[in-house]
Subunit: 130 residues, 2 copies
């Protein structure tokens, strides 16, 4: 199949498929006589794997490692789990950050009347009047 069909079938945009190839996350695709990239079902499988990993928030560097482990029959599941747990930790860190921001903002907006008057605890807080 051509790149468009592979894109539709995997949920990875054609743009990104080319990009993944260019950074070596995917091996160079086979080409038709006219130079069109051609994809097999196995390629599609790999693309879906990458897509799923992206959906879980893995960065491309880690995905590279995951693909490698996936294709390694002698892998130790320990390795995979280690990557996943490190990723969970990173996500939890971001989650904490977000939660703190949200809580702070909720406090501020709850205190702001939000009418036509200029007094605003949100602005006051940003200005460091606290």
């Amino acid at each position: 199949m051509n790149i468009g069909e592979a894109a539709r079938g995997s949920g990875v945009s054609a743009k990104m498929i080319r990009h993944y190839e260019s950074i070596g996350l995917l091996p160079p695709a086979a080409r038709s006589e006219a130079g069109y990239r051609r994809y097999t079902d196995a390629d599609l499988h790999t693309l879906r794997f990458i897509r799923h990993a992206r959906d879980l928030g893995f960065d491309l560097g880690t995905i590279r490692a995951l693909v490698s482990l996936w294709q390694d029959r002698g892998r130790e599941s320990r390795e995979v789990k280690r990557l996943a747990e490190a990723h969970i930790d990173a996500l939890r860190g971001k989650l904490d950050q977000l939660q703190k921001m949200i809580i702070a903002l909720e406090h501020l907006t709850a205190c702001c009347r939000g009418d036509e008057r200029p007094d605003c605890p949100i602005i006051d807080e940003l200005a460091g009047s606290s």
Copy 2:
């Protein structure tokens, strides 16, 4: 004061101060005879304002609006509150995404033995065997 002191005093890196100036978030700083940027306490105040807004996760476009509102004595607090609430919504969206990822990953890692054997539900899930 010079840019380094302004940076230390505001928590905004010198690099970023120059950048904010270049994109018009800050007005061009006054200059010494030798061309060094010079900052007043008022400038420092603005920098701290920006820093606080960044800490709450606002993007620079919104911060531009917030600074503008801060300096507008006739502002309506409604405007500020609207920006803050829109931002909270955006953050909540990201939070949901993160939570879903974390939950999915926690399920998977809980099922993975993480030993020397290759069987791994994490990899299986990514490969779409589910």
